[in-house]
């Protein structure tokens, strides 16, 4: 399985990668993008199975990225990993086609809880 991690913070991309391993997903390939524009290119080029995206990013926000992905007919599993925790954010995310929203900070158990149902 190929997982695309999208976050403008290199530190957060490292933490997501680390937590995926702790959650038992260490056998999978991870690729990275630092914003929505770069992520679109990676999705086109590498066809990831899962996209884990931050919400607030320069160039293109996570919600815009998701909207463009869905507009193109791509139903890739897409989840947000974000410090945005409001009910409004979660509703926007789900309405746009995200499978889950994981709030920072998160544990390996939190990661498992959101990924297992969508990867089963």
């Amino acid at each position: 399985m190929k997982i695309l991690i999208v976050d403008d913070s290199k530190a957060m991309r490292m933490i997501v990668t680390r937590t995926l391993k702790l959650a038992g997903y260490d056998g999978h390939d991870t690729i990275e993008a630092s914003n929505g524009v770069e992520a679109l290119e990676k999705i086109e080029a590498e066809s990831p199975d899962v996209v884990l995206s931050d919400w607030n990013m320069p160039e293109m926000k996570g919600i815009e990225l998701l909207e463009k992905v869905r507009e193109s007919g791509n139903n890739v599993t897409f989840g947000f990993i974000t410090s945005e925790s409001s009910a409004e954010t979660k509703t926007l995310a789900k309405d746009a086609g995200a499978q889950f929203v994981l709030t920072k900070p998160f544990t390996a158990e939190n990661m498992q809880a959101v990924l297992e149902p969508v990867l089963a």
Partner: protein, 158 residues
Amino acid sequence: MTTTLQIPVAEEIGDFLSNLYGLQVSTKPASPLDVEKARAMADYVDDQGNVKAVVACDISGAAKLGAALTQIPVGGVEDSIDEDELSNSLSENLLEVFNIAVNVFRESHSHRLVVNQITLGSEAAKLTAEATSSAEATHYELDIERYGSGAISFFTFS
């Protein structure tokens, strides 16, 4: 009716940071932060742009909060503390910690707080003093596994 955000208790902050870092973090009440020594400060605003919370740290707290995020070696932390200035990597990490820290305020989920401005360096001292003169404050000492202790203060506004 406007409400004041609740300042998180020591255990909540320790648990929050432990989850973030994957390291043990303990927190205990401490004497007030000398704002002259604040070297990092973040303010959080509501939907109307009103400042509802401020978080400030001394150089030791700032350096260690940043270092723990990606486990930057202790030597780099000590250098920053000795020089009273955060390195680029510590600064970058601390920005992310402050961003995530919006969720340490329990009511942030309904208040929809967002981080507004983050100030690093000696300028943080002046801004902290100006921003927090009428705030409710709680001061803590953090102890982060591998890195040791530093000061962090929380200020909230009605």
